[in-house]
Symmetry: C2
C-alpha cells in the first residue's frame, strides 16, 4: 500500500529523511508492504540548494499540505516551538499522524499534543526527539510496557559528552575542549543550551514523563551544566576510579520522583562511563527487565533520520493508537521532590593546619552528612593544601546546608562540588 | 478492551509472565487501554506446585485452548522443537497470534512459521527468543527498518560470558570458572549447548536472518566454543589490550554474508568488552543509524517475561502484520560465505632457536598472511620459548592453510588460535 506523507523542514534531519527514503524505500516496501511517498516538503526558502531534496516537492505554503487529504502523516524537523506547535495541532486536529524530532516542542507542550492526538484519534510519535537513533522511547513505551521503571540515567547531550571525553582522554581544560568541539561543529557558536544542560533537561522531561507515567515539567528539573568542571577534577576523579559525565537522571524512590541534570562522577566500571565522544546512551533500571543500556548516535543527519523513518513506518502501520496516560489518567500519586540521595565529591583548598579537617568534619557531622573519603593529595605549598572529600550517600538538602556553612569558614575554599552515583 | 490469551508452559518464563501480568496488569490497562486476561495455561503436570501461577487456569489439554475462540493469542515458553512446532502451526492456522521465547524452534522452522502466519493473516512475535529483556528484535525489525544492516555482533549467551568474565577478572582457569557457574545455576549440569556455542548459534540464525533479510540457517553458521580458552590466553590478551568474549557475528561484506560464533579478542575499549557477568549485549552497525549497542539481562524469569509481555501487548495492539520478507521475496542475492576477513591471535611454544621465527614467518608469508605483532614473552626454559603472534587482517581460509602447514613443523607447537575483531 502506498502512503503519502509530508515533511516540515528540509534542514539536516529533513534532508536526511529524504535521502534515506530514496535509498531504502524499496527495501522498506519489500519488508513491510508499505510504500512511503513524500508528497510535499515545507520550507521557508524555496530557492536554497538542498542536496538530496527533490525540488519539485518543496512548498512554502503549509495550507497546501493541510488541504491534501491524501497526506496521512506529517513529520516535523524544523525545530523551535513556534510555529511547530501551531502546525502540530493543525495536523493532529485534521486526523493526520504527527512525527517529531522536536524535544523543545514536546517538553513544553506534551499534554496539549497528546490530548489533541487522543481527541482526534490519531498518533503522536517522537522517537527522534531523544538520543537520535537510539530507540529509547520505543523501549520505554513498548518493550518495557509491563515494567515499573525505577530509574533512567542518560548521557543524552553529545556536545557535552564530547567535551568531557576530550578533557578526560587528553587531559584538556574545559575551554580548550569546548574550542575544539566548536571548531569541529559538535558545539554551536553559542553553546549555552548544551553546556548549561538545558538541552538534556528538555530530553529528560520527555524520558521521565514516559518512565514514570506522570507529566514531568522542565521547570521541575534541577539543572547544572559542565562549565565549572576542570582538568584537575577530571584527573582527581580518575585517580579515585571515577569518570565525570553530564547525566540526566530520573528516579522514582519511595513514591517520589527526582529529576536532575548535572555533572556526575561514576565508577569507571559503570557501562555509562565507557560512552565517549558524541555518543549517547540511556541506562534504565526496570522492575522485571533489570538493568539495561541503549547506546548509539544521539545526533546527526542520518542517525536522527533513521529514528524518524522508523517512527514514520511504525505510525503508518499502526492502526490502534495508545499511550495517553497523561490524558486518560492512570497517573500515580508520585510527587516531584527537590531532595534526593547521592554522594558528593568536594574539591577544596585549605590552610595547612591540623585543626582545619576537624572543623570541616564537624560542620558535616552537625548536618548529618558522613564522610567516606578524605584525601590531601600532593604537598602543601604557601601554607595551603588540597583537600578532597567524598561523602557517604546523603540528602541533597542536608549537604547544601552543610556547604553553606562550610563556605563561611576562612580556612577553606571550596573549588567544586560534583555529585556521585554508583 | 479485554483480550484473552493462553500460555503454553508454566516453567520459569511462563510463571514469570503470570506474575508480571498480575502485578502490572492495571498499569498496562491504564497506559494502553488493553486488559490482558490469561484464560488458560497448558502444562504437562496439573499437580506440580508453581508459585504465582493460578491453579484454576491450568490445563493439560491443548485442544481446549484451540477450541476457545475468545483466545486471540498464544504465548509459548515450553522450549524444545516438539511439540512446540505442532502447537505453533495449529495456533497460527487458527488465526491466533503466536508469541514465543523458543530460539531453537524459530531457528529451525522460521520460514514455515512465518509463511503460516502470513497465509493466515496473523502475527508471529519472538522478542524473548534472543537476549532476554533486550529489545534487539524490535530494533532490527522496527526502529532500524530504514537501515541496511552491515553487522551484528552479540554477546548472546550469558553462561559463557559469565565464565569468561570470571576467568578475566579473577584469573581463573576454564574448568574452575565453569564449576562456579554450574554451582550458581548459570550453567546447566550438561553445559555443552552453551559452552560449545550452539545456543548462540540458534540466536545468531534469528538475528542475522532479520538483519540481512535473508534466511540464515543454523547449519551455515561457523561455530567454535570456549572450552579451549585458558587463563594464560586471557592474561596475554589483557596485557596486549584485549578482552576475550564469545561473540556471535553476522556481517554483510561485498554482498556476502558471514556468520560465525567463536571466542573473539576485542580491544578493551570496545563497548562489548565491558559487558560482564551474565549480561547480554548486541552491537549493531547500520547504514543510517551508525553504531549502536543494546545491553541487558539475557536470561532469567522476569527479564524474559518482560520481553514476552511486551510482545504480547504489541501483538494485541497491532492490527496490521508485517515482516515476512522470507515469504514475500525481497531477499537480496547475498550468499553465505565460509571465508571472511579477521585478524588472528596465535599462542604457541617454540624451540628457542634463531631460525624458528624465520620458518614461521616464511609459512605465513607464502600463504599471503602478514604478521602485525610477534612477541616472545618471558624467558626461555628447557630450550623452549613462548611465541605469540597477531596477524594483520587476513582471509580465514588462507590462515587455515598456513596453520595446517605450521602444524607440521617440529619446532613449534600451536597452543591456541583466537580471532581478533577491532
Amino acid at each position: 500500500m502506498k502512503k503519502r506523507i509530508a515533511l516540515l523542514g528540509a534542514g539536516t534531519v529533513g534532508a536526511g529523511v529524504c535521502r534515506l527514503l530514496a535509498e531504502n524505500g524499496d527495501m522498506i516496501l519489500d519488508n513491510n508492504g508499505v510504500e512511503i511517498e513524500i508528497a510535499a516538503i515545507l520550507v521557508r526558502d524555496l530557492n536554497k540548494e538542498r542536496p538530496g531534496v527533490p525540488k519539485e516537492l518543496l512548498t512554502d505554503d503549509f495550507e497546501k499540505i493541510m488541504a491534501d487529504d491524501s497526506i496521512v502523516l506529517v513529520a516535523e524537523a524544523m525545530g523551535g516551538v513556534h510555529p511547530a506547535l501551531e502546525y502540530a495541532l493543525r495536523v493532529l486536529k485534521a486526523g493526520k499522524c504527527f512525527v517529531t524530532a522536536n524535544k523543545e516542542l514536546l517538553s513544553q507542550h506534551f499534554e496539549e499534543l497528546e490530548r489533541t492526538a487522543f481527541e482526534h484519534g490519531t498518533g503522536l510519535y517522537f522517537e527522534p526527539s531523544v538520543a537520535g537513533a537510539v530507540p529509547v522511547i520505543k523501549a520505554l513505551t513498548d518493550s518495557l510496557a509491563a515494567n515499573r521503571i525505577y530509574s533512567v540515567m542518560g548521557i543524552i547531550n553529545g556536545t557535552t559528552n564530547y567535551i568531557l571525553s576530550k578533557m578526560s582522554e587528553e587531559n584538556m581544560g574545559y575551554a580548550e575542549a569546548l574550542a575544539e568541539a566548536t571548531e569541529l561543529g559538535y558545539a554551536e557558536p553559542d553553546p549555552t543550551n548544551d553546556v548549561e544542560g538545558y538541552d538534556a533537561r528538555f530530553k529528560l522531561s520527555i524520558l521521565s514523563s514516559l518512565a514514570f507515567d506522570r507529566r514531568v515539567y522542565v521547570k521541575d528539573i534541577f539543572c547544572e551544566g559542565i562549565t565549572a568542571i576542570t582538568a584537575d577534577d577530571m584527573r582527581v576523579a580518575k585517580d579515585m576510579g571515577y569518570g565525570i559525565k553530564l547525566l540526566a537522571i530520573g528516579k522514582m524512590e519511595d513514591d517520589k520522583i527526582q529529576v536532575r541534570v548535572h555533572p556526575t562522577m561514576l565508577p569507571l566500571s559503570h557501562p555509562l562511563c565507557s560512552v565517549n565522544g558524541s555518543f549517547n546512551a540511556v541506562f534504565v533500571n526496570a522492575s522485571a527487565a533489570g538493568e539495561m543500556m541503549f547506546y548509539g548516535r544521539g545526533a546527526g543527519d542520518m542517525p536522527t533520520a533513521s529514528a524518524m523513518a522508523g517512527d514514520i513506518l511504525h505510525a503508518l502501520m499502526q492502526e490502534t493508537r495508545r499511550r495517553y496516560p497523561f490524558v486518560l489518567g492512570g497517573v500515580p500519586a508520585a510527587q516531584i521532590t527537590d531532595d534526593w540521595n547521592s554522594a558528593f565529591f568536594l574539591s577544596s583548598v585549605a590552610q595547612d593546619e591540623p585543626l582545619v579537617l576537624a572543623r570541616v568534619a564537624n560542620i558535616f557531622g552537625k548536618h548529618g552528612v558522613s564522610l567516606k573519603t578524605v584525601l590531601q593529595p600532593g604537598e602543601a605549598s604557601d601554607g595551603c593544601t588540597r583537600v578532597i572529600l567524598i561523602t557517604h550517600i546523603t540528602s541533597e538538602l542536608k549537604f547544601r546546608k552543610a556547604l553553606e556553612e562550610l563556605k563561611e569558614l576562612d580556612c577553606i575554599e571550596v573549588r567544586n562540588i560534583i555529585r556521585v552515583e554508583e
